[in-house]
């Protein structure tokens, strides 16, 4: 692989091989010769936090290539799931911009050779739009899994014989999606002692991250449970429960995981269930604790995405906030903030919005 190509797409296996061949150690990187690389690595993460996109600085190929694994190390060292998502997306956006300038064949080559996609040529026109390619729906669903706009839903695509018709620009966007997944997979929590020059850059990254945390929605949840801020879907589940309607498994799961996550004590939750229906208290306690991650495989479940609730018919009575969010917890944060503004001004120490890890 050419250095220029590797600098553009450093997350590809071939690019990683190029880096490995240099056999660089952490201490090597601490030497003044790599100042530029370290600075660019920190800059990548800072750009991700501040702008949501890493720029495509291609004036120095080696700096661009080597700074990527170091930036990945910075993000991994932070161990913040929210930063992981933001960084992976920002790097993927950079890729999307670079892909815009690539030839049709180059796109196809990355998709087929580097990602192993079943991508075929097409040339069909629908509604006056040329669809250059068709991609097997299996690859399409994976690479588009983080996209939430209606136009990417499979049901809104032309799907024939297993293949989804796509324009060239759409293929570039899907490569972005796949790149995001690949980069996210590389971000695994690590604990390492870094030599001073590297640690100094990481500290800078940390500072920028903390400054921007609240603005970017990576903040915690309100410290008290605010019933009035529940999204309409959760209210629907709650009202069903109170009326004694036999709730579907998904409804109960959505409600329980939501209430646990926003901080309702487990005992109150068990009381709530057993008081309104003939649930067996012991069984209910077990199930609630299972969802809370106290029992069983110790996974703490977070509530399902809006998309999931829609599939299962639980997304009801949407309002204006619903149009802006993809997750019921985001609704809860926004609504809680709104309610706090609407209340008569409180002295700062009485505000019920505090930082809390999620």
């Amino acid at each position: 692989m050419l250095e220029r190509e590797a600098a553009k797409y450093p997350f590809l296996t071939e690019a990683a091989k190029l880096v490995d061949a240099l056999n660089l150690q952490l201490d090597d990187l601490a030497s003044p010769a790599y100042e530029k690389v370290l600075d660019r690595a920190a800059e990548r993460v800072v750009q991700a936090i501040e702008d949501g996109a890493v720029d495509d600085a291609l004036d120095d190929y080696m700096t661009e290539l080597l700074s990527f694994p170091i930036a990945v190390m910075f993000v991994s060292a932070k161990g913040e799931p929210f930063l992981n998502r933001r960084y992976a997306l920002a790097e993927a956006v950079r890729v999307y911009f670079l892909l815009q300038d690539e030839e049709r064949d180059k796109l196809a080559q990355i998709a087929r050779d580097d990602f192993g996609w079943a991508l075929k040529d097409s040339g069909e026109r629908y509604d006056g739009v040329l669809h250059d390619f068709r991609l097997h729906f299996h690859d399409y669903l994976r690479s588009s899994s983080s996209f939430h706009e209606d136009k990417w839903k499979l049901v809104n695509r032309i799907v024939k014989n297993g293949y989804v018709l796509l324009t060239q620009r759409e293929v570039a966007r899907l490569i972005q999606g796949e790149a995001e997944i690949l980069i996210k997979d590389r971000l695994k929590p690590v604990k390492i002692n870094l030599p001073e020059p590297i640690q100094r850059r990481l500290d800078r990254v940390s500072k920028v991250f903390e400054e921007n945390r609240t603005r970017l929605g990576g903040e915690g949840l309100p410290s008290e449970v605010i019933n009035e801020a529940f999204p309409p879907c959760i209210r629907f589940c709650m009202e069903g429960l109170l009326a004694g309607r036999r709730a579907s498994h998904m409804e109960r799961f959505a409600l329980t995981s939501f209430l646990v996550t926003v901080g309702m004590p487990l005992d109150s939750l068990v009381d709530l269930y057993t008081s309104v229906s003939d649930f067996d208290p012991a069984m209910t306690k077990y199930q609630v604790e299972h969802i809370a991650g106290v029992k069983g495989n110790r996974t703490k479940y977070t509530p399902p995405l809006c998309d999931t609730l829609r599939t299962h018919g639980i997304c009801r009575n949407k309002d204006d906030i619903c149009e802006r969010i993809k997750h019921p917890l985001s609704y809860y944060r926004i609504k809680a903030r709104r309610l706090a503004y609407q209340k008569p001004p409180l002295p700062p120490q009485a505000s019920n919005i505090t930082q809390q890890s999620q």
């Binding site: 026109r125 629908y126 509604d127 006056g128 097997h136 729906f137 299996h138 669903l141 994976r142 899994s145 209606d150 136009k151 839903k153 499979l154 049901v155 809104n156 695509r157 032309i158 799907v159 024939k160 014989n161 297993g162 293949y163 069903g240 009326a243 004694g244 309607r245 036999r246 579907s248 498994h249 998904m250 229906s277 003939d278 069983g296 495989n297 998309d307 999931t308 829609r310 599939t311 299962h312 018919g313």
Partner: protein
């Protein structure tokens, strides 16, 4: 004398006997070593789970020895199927679909299904309301079935198969297995490498595709800015289906029903008073022409009215599948060709070509000889193997074994000594 409705001991004995002679004809699911199995016995409340079999013979011996009331296998493949959930090691799962007439709204349900409020004793036929007059929502239900429910389930299954084959490209010969569920519906299993490693979000998209959930007509030709000349009615996938759905809706919906939707004046006028014109446009021209024919300057209102229409219209083209079964990647599903403990019928694998003529109430009968005398507390009329039985109310009757077991499994009767 057994006083329990359903006489579980008698039924268990019949099941056991059936498995004695038929177990060896029940094929094991593919890749048996990677599957989890689960069983329920008559009268038992605990499911025996996390069972694994090394080969077909061991599997058949289990059925023969235990004669279970309900038998399941995992749609998933595991490294260690016998471990608990955390230790199983998920490697993939078939894509499975469940179509069950229980979820449909059908006129025949008023003839054979009843409900009763647990709180105020209010009762009725068909499906129970969301919430009873008394404000509570807990009901006792009695559900039976008839040829019409089964026919409706088959119709949905055929629509599903059409999408799996034509749109998603699965091979009818190699990838798809269709089973009668043994009760009110059908199960479709997709076994393909392209389905196996789909994650939950991918499966959710497939579910939305099959149900038409989240469909926006503007991406399927109904777009004022779209250029292009031809009608979409013959197009593949949802592009064609959306056009046909709207066509059928306009052609067959009574004017009062359309007016009740309270759409804009101009669009209502076009599809009610100028219905033939609207239909001709859909048949001969690009859907954008239909939108232009509404002649409304407020595009946003036009598109929101269109999406209201579409939401209703697409139901006729969608296949009514259970959303949870398909998105669950650890699902247990009925083991094909075993017996269903709530009907006494066989869960039966059907050749795809044979589906149009398949009649479960003739083909899925497991108990083909002998008869039994039962006391029936209540049962609607049923048609089994071409003959009609019932309706029965508090009477003793002698009927063929298949009918007796059906009435017993439905808990509508008990063995008369």
């Amino acid at each position: 004398m057994e006083s329990d409705w359903g006489s579980p001991r008698f039924v268990a004995e019949q099941f056991h006997r059936w498995y004695q002679s038929n177990a060896r004809a029940i094929p094991a699911p593919t890749e048996i070593k990677q599957r989890e199995f689960a069983f329920l016995q008559f009268g038992g409340k605990t499911m025996f789970r996390h069972i694994g079999f090394p080969d077909e013979l061991t599997f058949q011996r289990y059925l023969k020895d235990n004669g279970p009331a309900h038998s399941y296998h995992s749609s998933s493949y595991y490294q260690r199927p016998e471990a608990d959930m955390a230790g199983k090691g998920w490697v993939g799962a078939d894509l499975v679909f469940d179509i069950d007439a229980d979820h449909f709204d059908l006129p025949c349900q008023h003839e054979h299904d009843t409900w009763k409020c647990k709180n105020c004793d209010e009762e009725g036929t068909g499906k129970h309301p969301e919430i009873c007059k008394c404000g509570k929502a807990a009901f006792e239900e009695e559900t039976w079935l008839c040829e019409r429910c089964l026919q409706a389930a088959k119709h949905e299954t055929q629509k599903l198969l059409d999408m799996l084959i034509q749109d998603l490209g699965f091979s009818p010969a190699g990838d798809l297995v269709v089973n009668f569920s043994g009760n009110r519906g059908y199960h479709v299993h997709v076994r393909s490498p392209r389905a196996r490693d789909l994650d939950q979000s991918g499966r959710r998209e497939v579910v939305d595709y099959i149900l038409g959930t989240g469909l926006k007509a503007e991406y399927l030709g109904f777009n004022l800015r779209a250029k292009g000349g031809r009608s979409t009615l013959a197009d593949e996938g949802w592009r064609g289906r959306a056009g046909r759905a709207l066509y059928d809706y306009i052609a067959s919906t009574p004017p009062e029903e359309i007016k009740a939707l309270k759409l804009g004046r101009k669009i209502t006028n076009l599809i009610v008073n100028e219905r033939d014109k609207a239909l001709t446009i859909l048949e001969e021209s690009h859907p954008s022409i239909l939108l232009k024919a509404v002649d409304l300057s407020d595009d946003e209102k036009l598109m929101s009215d269109l999406s209201k229409l579409m939401e209703i219209a697409v139901k006729s083209q969608a296949a009514d599948i259970d959303t949870v079964v398909t998105t669950d990647i650890h699902r247990l599903i009925r083991l094909p060709n075993t017996l269903h403990g709530k009907t006494g019928w066989q869960v039966q694998t059907i050749e795809l070509d044979g589906l149009p003529d398949y009649d479960p109430m003739t083909s899925a009968i497991a108990f083909r000889s002998g008869e039994a005398k039962v006391y029936v507390r209540h049962a609607p009329k049923v048609r089994i193997a071409g003959a009609e039985y019932g309706p029965y109310t508090q009477e003793a009757v002698t009927v063929p074994m298949a009918v007796a077991l059906f009435l017993l499994c439905k808990k509508g009767a008990r063995i008369e000594p």
